[in-house]
């Protein structure tokens, strides 16, 4: 329908007027043509500069100052301290613990998300259509679930007294679990959060990889099967190499997402766990800034976080380029 719009206007416009009308317009377009794209770009660019560019600059700037509550309210002079905030961080063992937590937690989330998502994508190709549709539908449901509500449900399932998991475990004879607190120990708490994260992020991997598998010509797989290749062999030697670009995209995307996790940790461990044992960089930065009013130190953490992700992104782009993807 929309395709016919220009044709329709052509037939209704009176023929003799057209040349006269288009002449000055063409001239005008020649002048405006050079600026037209900037008109289209301007609103988005203004928003991006104001809400991403400037804050990014300010983040770096603030990380170089001794910026605390006193400075915010104007009761103390604002002192440029250079890299002092970073020096404090580097010499603070807690920072290294948090960094370690972040890397371990994010890596575990990435690995399990990819394993579960990838395995289910391959598995889905062998299912009947209606079973596959069911699996995809419920996975979409998990994918769509907001982090906040997903965290709430998983927390409820693993609640020490009212949670279903403990009741089932106690019911099958593991009485040690009857009042077991999953959030008390550092690693069980991380494990709980990671399970929720995998639950709501594997569908993205599954759907994307499945689409990739569908794009592989069936003749290739069929030929390998006729040659007597086993299913795992077909997967590792034929499917995986063909899926490489897609696998790479979902891997990097998962890394970026999982390094940035905030809501799940914050909600499920009540702001970073007992004595901050479940802090990851994002939560740590937030707590330093908004709970301890150490805005300069929080900003320095933000910078570290950004640099870390930027490095990952650059590596990602490099890999994309090497695999022949064009920007």
């Amino acid at each position: 329908m929309a395709l016919q719009v220009p044709v329709a206007t052509a037939s209704t416009s009176p023929a003799p007027v057209r040349p006269a009308q288009s002449r000055p317009k063409k001239k005008g377009r020649g002048w405006a043509g050079r600026l037209e794209h900037w008109l289209y770009l301007a609103p988005a660019l203004i928003v991006l500069i104001a809400l991403l560019g400037y804050p990014l600059y300010q983040l770096i700037n603030m990380s170089l100052y001794d910026y605390r509550q006193a400075q915010v309210s104007g009761n103390a002079p604002l002192n440029f301290t250079g890299l002092e905030n970073y020096r404090i961080l580097v010499s603070d063992p807690e920072f290294w613990t948090v960094l370690g937590n972040t890397v371990i937690f994010a890596t575990a989330c990435v690995v399990f998300t990819l394993l579960v998502g990838g395995a289910l994508a391959v598995f889905a190709t062998r299912l009947r259509p209606w079973v596959r549709t069911t699996l995809f539908a419920v996975s979409l449901g998990a994918w769509a679930t907001p982090a906040v509500t997903g965290s709430a449900v998983w927390l409820f399932l693993f609640d020490s007294t009212q949670g279903l998991v403990n009741k089932v475990l106690a019911g099958i004879g593991l009485s040690g679990f009857s009042d077991f607190s999953w959030t008390y120990d550092k690693w069980t708490a991380f494990g709980l959060v990671a399970s929720e994260v995998v639950w709501c992020s594997f569908p993205f991997v599954m759907v994307t990889v499945y689409a990739g598998i569908q794009a592989i010509p069936t003749e290739v797989v069929e030929a390998a099967r006729l040659d007597g290749a086993s299913m795992p062999r077909i997967f590792t030697n034929i499917m995986l190499p063909m899926l490489r670009p897609i696998v790479m995209i979902v891997t990097i995307q998962s890394i970026i997402w999982n390094f940035k996790i905030f809501s799940q940790i914050y909600i499920m461990t009540n702001g970073g766990g007992i004595a901050g044992q479940n802090m990851v960089l994002n939560v740590y930065s937030y707590q330093q800034a908004f709970a301890a009013s150490l805005y300069g130190l929080g900003s320095a953490l933000g910078v570290i976080m950004t640099v870390l992700l930027m490095v990952i992104t650059v590596v990602y782009l490099r890999l994309l380029k090497r695999s022949g993807e064009v920007l």
């Binding site: 206007t9 289209y40 990014l56």
Partner: protein, 300 residues
Amino acid sequence: MTTLKVSQPGSVTPRRRAKEKKSRKGWGSNAVGLLIAAFVAFPLYWMLLSALKPKTALDAGDSTPWTLTPSFDSFARVLSVNNFGQYFLNSVIVALSVVVLSTVLAFLAAVALTRYNFKMRTKLLIIILVAQMVPIEALTIPLFFLFKGFGEAIPAVGLNHLGSLILVHVGFSIPFAIWMLRGFVAAVPIELEEAAKLDGASSFKFVRSVLFPLVAPGVVACSVFSFISTWNDFLFAKTFIISAQENSTMPMALLSFFKPDQNDWGAIMAGSVIMTIPVLIFFIAVQRKLVSGLAGAVKG
């Protein structure tokens, strides 16, 4: 080579055998598939079930996986006592404003970046790609002060007002939306634009009444993304709306049900259901377009 020669003369039998084998094998894997589906769906089911269970049953520690006496008591408690309706409305206002604003801005930018050739084009594209990768969570601190400043000039877009949440999410949604819409805009043949221009349509008219309807699937897909990321946002809702309770959005309201001593799980689950359902409907309704949109973004 040898296998090929062997299989060629009797090509019908091995194929039939493979088919039989597949269907017999399929029985087991299909059952496992359903089991996995049930496992994945279980948390959502448990959420709905617990929201519908009477409070007395939940407090008594009832953990039967069904309920014979469903009640809307928890929903009523959440909506009346905790004023959840207001928070729901706030979330809707913020999310819809973000969808409209970010889609329009991103669409116009995508047009400029695909339909025009200019010096800065590639540079801008790379900047936008990088902007998409900036961890917005790291920007919370400077944004907090930025909006504090905005609020002193124009209160409606300052801290404690919905305007601040709308603006911040428009900013975050735009880079991805541009990147995604670019592929769709580029797919519209250039001849169409030439035809429209020959017919005397101004460039803006072409963009508005020809291009925009044609990229509708892409627009839908990127609307969904901005809607979901805004709807689910917890960090900025928590940071920006500090004292004005009436301007809180749902994630914050839900968090307020968590009490250190005894959580009212019925209310938490009812609130979660209310918060999850719109996203679920949105997601499922546009699922097909979403996949094609994703493909467009990847290809673009």
